[in-house]
Symmetry: C2
Subunit: 140 residues, 2 copies
């Protein structure tokens, strides 16, 4: 028996904002989309590249609301420059909840409150402003 | 800037049961563990193989309780034989909430109520009992 990790599914009430977050913010590409007129929902997939693990966003067209529990924690991504990705995220209005003061780790939330961990690939970067003295915001 | 998906973090109040689910049940291996005496928590990682995307289980030793919201949906895995993995899961006491009646898709929950989707790799399998006539149980 073989098994392979495919995706994490997240429900979104803000598909356009989510699209901007995952593409412009994190630099993923939209890999595919499935719209069900009968079921009144869309499934939209994002990944680093075709064939890589995906984030699947489910958008129910009735725009019902959802709640975030704390049994599920977060999704984590490794990035080649944690300062650059945080700067890009800030530029599209994302709050860096746990800034990368240590040049190693940051936490943000996607537009639906899903916690996302960013980890610097390889060795941690040298401390750098404005990150080094930036306080935490809220929870993640 | 490059980015790579690393893991999904889930909080567990039943680390031994979770270990059995992800290893014996799904066939993943435990890739690493970090115990923090100072922080009173353990991080335990599972994956198909070293270097593959991981499920990170966080066990806070104080055994606090958590809640499952519905903003996060599920984690999905592709399997080479969906009947075989469902049989194995059943044999360790896991309820097949959405049985693979269609030879293609099944849903289960991990010991902490995290929804897991199983998808048959490649073409769907021919219908097979007891799955073909098995009813759904609960939600997922």
């Amino acid at each position: 028996m073989t098994i392979k990790y495919l995706h994490a599914m997240i429900r979104t009430t803000a598909p356009e904002e989510s699209h901007r977050f995952y593409t412009e913010g994190l630099g993923l590409i939209k890999t595919r989309q499935y719209d069900s007129e009968a079921g009144q929902f869309s499934l939209i997939y994002y990944a680093v590249e075709q064939g890589a693990p995906e984030v699947e966003l489910t958008h129910n067209w009735d725009d019902r609301n959802y709640s975030n529990g704390d049994q599920f924690g977060h999704l984590a991504f490794e990035v080649s420059d944690i300062y650059q990705v945080c700067e890009t995220l800030q530029s599209i209005g994302v709050t860096i909840l746990r800034p990368p003061r240590d040049g190693h780790m940051a936490f943000i939330k996607d537009p639906n409150g899903i916690s996302i961990e960013l980890l610097q690939a390889g060795e941690r970067l040298a401390p750098k402003e404005p990150w080094a003295s930036m306080e935490n915001t809220g929870s993640w």
